[in-house]
Symmetry: C2
Subunit: 145 residues, 2 copies
């Protein structure tokens, strides 16, 4: 299986665009962890490793990473989007606490059948899904009246 850098190289070539060291460094940093990330945090992580990458370059890369299927939007919080690497990661869904933001990841295979059904009904070429279940976590629900 190709790694994320190779996938990106194929993608970028096929689009007639250019690969650069800056882009590979950003992708490496994203995939060095399984965690969700946001632009500012990623910028600081790179900066902490003395990789001289501007925020603008990250902002310019994100749409390409989304389009290539390497990452996905995870959720909007604290005034900005959070993303997650998906290439090479087993798909998972999120269970989030409305009150404290705590998130649990869980696997749910049954959505696959729903995707197929939708593809057939609406003629879509379905690429994936995001399921977020929300409510109050164990601690928060007991703190409420």
């Amino acid at each position: 299986m190709k790694n994320e850098i190779e996938v990106f190289r194929d993608f970028i070539r096929q689009k007639g665009l250019r690969n650069t060291p800056a882009r590979e460094r950003i992708i490496e940093e994203i995939f060095s962890r399984h965690d969700h990330f946001d632009v500012d945090e990623l910028y600081l992580r790179l900066r902490g490793k003395n990789k001289n990458i501007s925020k603008a370059s990250i902002y310019r890369l994100v749409p390409l990473l989304l389009e290539s299927g390497l990452i996905q939007e995870a959720y909007f919080e604290d005034g900005h989007l959070h993303y997650e690497p998906i290439y090479g990661h087993e798909h998972h869904c999120h269970l989030r606490c409305i009150s404290c933001g705590k998130t649990v990841e869980f696997k749910e295979k049954s959505i696959h059948a729903i995707e197929k059904e939708l593809a057939r009904t609406y003629g879509y070429d379905v690429k994936g899904h995001k399921l977020e279940v929300y409510g109050y976590c164990d601690q928060c629900k007991n703190r409420l009246p």
Copy 2:
């Protein structure tokens, strides 16, 4: 069944906050349609009806509407969040085109069982979910190489 204004009154009283005509006008406008909305659009709709509501009041009300369960975040697009009224509306999920943004709403009852299971496993008091399936719509998929 209570209407949305009554639900809000109960909610706001229980929080020890205050209800106002401005808030009721905003809620009325949101629930006058089934559509998704965003803050700016809602502001213009109210302004078009000579309701003098500032954007700041809308921004300040949204978190309360979310917390009360009257509305829900629908998706992030064009640089801002879009919301949808959920109180009194049958729950639905979204099938969105990655390329043109076209969205189809569909019903899916099976998620309810997943919610119950999660509530039991993780001790959450589950309030709802958002499922977004994405891919290329019929037109867009045929436009690609």
